[in-house]
Symmetry: C2
């Protein structure tokens, strides 16, 4: 069920990934198909003309469809065994096409971090959305209730009494009873601390005429990247404890607690140990990235290899003149400043620094596999998938080296 | 001519900026106008209904038009005195509207870093473009020659013999003689080293039937942010020396050397000291940012105050529950991971960390000016203007607190 990745270090992994893709290596840009050209070739987003990924204009954001689909089925199978569900986060892929695939393959809903993201998903027919961020302004609250009116499965997080009252008023205005979850804080970033205030908020929601309490959200961001499975598990179970107590208290008091949702890719195989937990808000598992690869597996493998890195950026070598280095056309606007750096597939000796806005600077820590020429292409696993996806208007779905589909990144730039 | 900014430190500057904007402070979101709503209010991009910037849905990218226009006139006046011109870089603003304003107010041309950026500018009627990056693929070379065919003022950088031959072939195919500059390296990122190879390349370009040599580009990225004017000046003049020698050699040999272009906002008042230098490729001066504010002025002011920070992001407070901190709705997708951190105007004691994808985390190093409520808004000077602009589809042009114009960021995401 869990796909096996040989090698016990990042370096070994990148070498292995290189072996896999070596068959498809095309050393020089032949075409350089642009996004408009690829779109023109597609019927219902599907490309049937057999364009190689190496012929795309670069930087090109690519997702290996076999790997992505396997990641999704791996997650579904694991969660089924654990007896919980997935409510994947659309902030990662921002693609209605991928959200629909997740819903079609067993996810019980989709999470959105920003209201404009939810609006973009709804506009493309994605249903069963949970807004995990409380909307802070009257304008946003009203717009959320506009979604709720046409999509009865829409759920809204709330973390404050004033916000709950505003939401009830907006729901009444829209003529609906809005489904609501309490966002209970883990840490000090968002949500209401899981104490008496949170109990009072849940009781208020239960009393307000146009709100229907559904349960509790408890998302712990930082623990997802805690290094080493044992340490991660210990920390995740410790930090969620007050929230689990809150959930139990509310449940015992007779309030409706259908939902106890949180967790992410780093804790997908931990959160089922929390009593009452219903679903994980996993996001990155569809794509993976260098950050997640570094956190380690339950098996003890220092590489987190439960899911395969499906998301890559293809770049072109612009300069090979300076000893021990290459310059590419993918800088921070193509790969972001996140660390660890992008991992060039098949070239474990390359350190890819995307710190410059327009250019990637590669330094050789060990000799590369060949002498790179200007125009040669490189494929790199991204540092951190969410913000990289947000830099592009579309991603290319690749199957066995060929472009199969061109997906619009519907919520790209939707940070409002 | 140089606008005076009181205060001799970043902290003093931010306090001062706060005093300036205090008059317009609106503590609570009243409306939250979305981008589509603002667009619907605009006729030819102009908004006449007097919407306050504090009523925009957030995160909102804003440019203070008075400051931006003053920055542009300050630059033009300074360069006039120095006897050189400006060829501003569109990679900073990616807005055809701003490029046109720069051309209308005296700039001799516009630079583009990526071909898709140039195509976006051309599509909006911007002329006189210089592509500062050599196009590495046959596809990109052909597309560049398509632009050249309809825009005789288009100039293309070349840094390699094969590239020059490909370009000449594509120019012949397009039925044009293409204007070309040699991109001579400063440092080890892009361009051909300014030695015999560069001379041979210039001679080859001069001989190739469909190319016309116009001069030399020499851009030094890293020196722009060198700290302290004296050190920056010494370094800029030292690193450009081999390029100045190349320019003199080519000039003496009788080759056409109309253009000797390079430099940026950090060296706008240094490059005229290089013999033969014709124009600076300044970009950030229109907006400024925390990075540039830190490099210091010629006057000795540790704040680089020659230009005023016109570009800001307005965010909303989402959480005020945890002591000594606030959470906002602007994370790395709204402000990038660049450092120094965003500077909250009027709140020098706030450290704004945009390290989380969706949320900004503010820590109080000193007490804030007031007790912030959920829904309150904050305005921050951006860490590094270029990549922040690239996160948004439009920016709001603000005059005296009111939205005057909604500008499409035409080349947003155009990293190809």
């Amino acid at each position: 069920m869990i796909p096996h990745q040989p090698g016990s270090s990042r370096r070994a992994f990148l070498s292995f990934a290189g072996t896999l893709s070596a068959y498809f290596w095309i050393p020089k840009a032949v075409k350089g198909y642009t996004e408009p050209e690829m779109r023109a070739m597609a019927i219902d987003d599907r490309v049937r003309s057999g364009v190689s990924k190496w012929d795309l204009d670069t930087p090109a954001l690519c997702v290996d469809l076999d790997k992505m689909e396997r990641n999704i089925s791996t997650m579904q199978a694991a969660l089924k065994k654990f007896g919980i569900s997935s409510r994947p986060h659309a902030k990662t892929h921002k693609c209605a096409a991928i959200a629909r695939y997740q819903l079609d393959t067993g996810s019980i809903g989709i999470c959105c971090a920003k209201l404009t993201e939810a609006e973009a998903m709804v506009a493309k027919g994605v249903d069963r959305i949970c807004m995990t961020t409380a909307n802070p302004s009257v304008s946003k609250i009203r717009r959320a209730m506009r979604i709720r009116k046409s999509h009865p499965n829409f759920i809204q997080a709330v973390d404050e009494e004033v916000n709950a009252r505003d939401l009830s008023a907006a729901a009444r205005e829209a003529g609906v009873v809005a489904d609501v979850v309490v966002d209970a804080a883990v840490g000090t970033r968002s949500g209401i601390p899981p104490g008496e205030g949170a109990v009072a908020l849940a009781q208020l929601i239960d009393r307000l005429p146009n709100l229907r309490l559904r349960g509790v959200l408890s998302y712990d961001g930082p623990v997802q990247h805690a290094n080493g499975f044992t340490a991660r598990k210990e920390r995740a179970l410790r930090t969620i404890e007050p929230n689990a107590e809150l959930f139990a208290t509310l449940n015992k008091s007779g309030l409706n607690m259908e939902i106890f949702s949180g967790g992410g890719t780093g804790t997908y195989n931990i959160m089922h140990l929390v009593p009452g937990f219903t679903d994980v808000q996993v996001g990155s598992y569809v794509f993976m990235d260098m950050q997640y690869m570094a956190i380690g597996s339950e098996s003890g493998d220092p590489v987190f290899s439960d899911f395969a890195p499906s998301l890559t950026v293809i770049t072109t070598v612009l300069n090979n003149r300076f000893p021990g280095r290459l310059t590419t056309d993918g800088g921070s606007k193509a790969l972001t400043l996140n660390t660890p750096h992008a991992g060039v597939i098949g070239e474990p000796g390359m350190d890819y620094n995307a710190g410059s806005d327009e250019f990637g600077s590669i330094q050789f820590n060990a000799p590369p596999s060949k002498a790179y020429k200007i125009g040669d292409k490189l494929e790199a696993i991204v540092p951190h998938c969410d913000p990289v996806v947000n830099e592009y208007d579309q991603m290319y779905g690749i199957r066995k080296d060929r472009v199969e589909v061109v997906w619009t990144i519907d919520a790209r730039g939707k940070s409002q």
